[in-house]
């Protein structure tokens, strides 16, 4: 004896599209064996799915590309040109010390800073603030690698260095408990006492107030009242500033 169930079209479609779980799927397959009408409905809808798929399978796609991406307006630069301009931008950014994507850059930069401090205040110490506004893991990874190299080099040469990593906007994610870099931050702060990680209170307040996220910070992070205020203050104290 068969127990006929009333399957809606939505359920049948879910079956066809692989949206049912194994139990539901097996139940429907078993019911199909006993219910010719159900089987016909399934076949009909499956047929429609195949027809639609096939109807657009051989559509001639314009030869790549009829108009290359970005050639049609003022933003009209192709990808390669965009990459080139990006490269130029980075080089220029390096020159104006506003953007750093360093290899040996941080070390060189710290040495210049050290020289400046020596000239200005007879203090042979490099003070470096890295302002992080991105949570792009690749950029953060590069930044942390370079930071570690720099700390290591200065420690090995017994030279003075102070580093502050200031985070706000998306950069807050670097010092939140959800960061993929928690272990590295812990290791860095444990090994070197001359590095601090700071988070902007304004950003934290905004995120919490808008209920966007309840950001919890790593114990290694300290809260500063405002990123902008921190930048101004540190610059006045002669810190060098890099934003990534």
């Amino acid at each position: 004896m068969t127990q006929e169930k009333d399957y809606s079209d939505s359920i049948i479609n879910s079956f066809i599209d692989g949206e049912l779980d194994d139990r539901e799927k097996n139940e429907l397959i078993s019911d199909m064996d006993n219910d010719q009408e159900l089987k016909t409905r399934v076949m009909k809808l499956r047929n429609i799915r195949e027809l639609v798929k096939n109807a657009y399978k051989d559509i001639p796609v314009p030869v790549k590309p009829q108009r290359h991406i970005n050639t049609n307006n003022s933003r009209g630069i192709n990808l390669y040109v965009a990459s080139f301009i990006l490269a130029i931008g980075i080089v220029v950014g390096w020159g104006i010390q506003d953007y750093l994507n360093p290899t040996k850059g941080l070390i060189e930069f710290a040495e210049i800073t050290e020289q400046n401090n020596l000239i200005n205040s007879n203090e042979q110490v490099a003070r470096l603030m890295i302002h992080v506004t991105t949570d792009d893991p690749i950029r953060l990874d590069i930044m942390l690698n370079e930071t570690e190299q720099l700390l290591k080099k200065y420690a090995a040469n017994q030279k003075s260095l102070e580093m502050s990593i200031l985070t706000n906007a998306r950069g807050i994610n670097l010092v939140s408990t959800t960061t993929p870099f928690a272990k590295r931050l812990r290791e860095l702060t444990a090994r070197y006492s001359n590095i601090t990680f700071n988070a902007c209170k304004e950003t934290l307040n905004r995120l919490n107030k808008d209920k966007l996220r309840n950001v919890e910070l790593l114990p290694e992070a300290q809260v500063v009242p405002s990123a902008l205020g921190e930048v101004i203050e540190k610059r006045q104290q002669g810190w060098s500033y890099i934003k990534i």
Partner: protein, 185 residues
């Protein structure tokens, strides 16, 4: 090394965007059934994607993100066309009289495309994303910014309408081709 890593990431993304062109075009074409417009939509979507590539935090979500951008471009286009008379649907309805058109009618591909073009836009978008792109209901819901229940109901209505238009018309057209033999006296 840092610099090369940075560029590799962007190169990878750009090549993924270029690879998506064909898939996007099929979906765009299925939405508008106009090759020039579909190409424009894809072009505009890719341009927007490149400009906003930094906003894509999860690279595994690239496809859904691209379809969402294209859906926004498509909505913008439709909004601009709001005060214009859209004759596209009328043109797609088969009025068949000539032998060539009759042949076209027999062609299932044309029949299905024509039927899809006559579906309301919401249904058309859902069925093309699911059937052409094997997108899950959850992905479609995210792209079109509608609840999953809406995706399911639109899909049901779309397939039902297509079954009615395509399969039943096909059955009628084949049965109408069966002529009884005349009795010759």
């Amino acid at each position: 090394m840092g610099l090369s890593k940075f560029f590799c990431k962007n190169k990878w993304l750009y090549s993924r965007l270029e690879e998506s062109r064909e898939r996007l075009y099929r979906i765009a074409y299925a939405w508008c059934h106009d090759s020039a417009l579909a190409d424009d939509l894809v072009q505009e979507s890719l341009e927007k994607a490149i400009r906003n590539v930094d906003r894509l935090y999860d690279h595994s979500a690239l496809n859904g993100w691209l379809y969402r951008i294209m859906n926004n471009c498509w909505k913008d286009y439709l909004r601009k066309q709001y005060h214009h008379v859209d004759v596209a649907d009328d043109e797609l309805v088969y009025e068949g009289s000539s032998p060539e058109e009759a042949y076209e009618l027999q062609n299932m591909t044309v029949r299905v495309q024509s039927a899809v073009a006559r579906l309301p836009m919401g249904q058309r978008q859902v069925i093309t994303l699911v059937d052409l792109n094997d997108a899950s209901y959850a992905e479609v819901a995210e792209v079109l910014e509608v609840p999953i229940g809406t995706v399911m109901s639109r899909l049901s209505r779309a397939r039902k309408a297509l079954a009615s238009i395509v399969l039943e018309q096909h059955a009628q057209s084949t049965s109408s081709n069966i002529y009884p033999l005349r009795e010759i006296q």
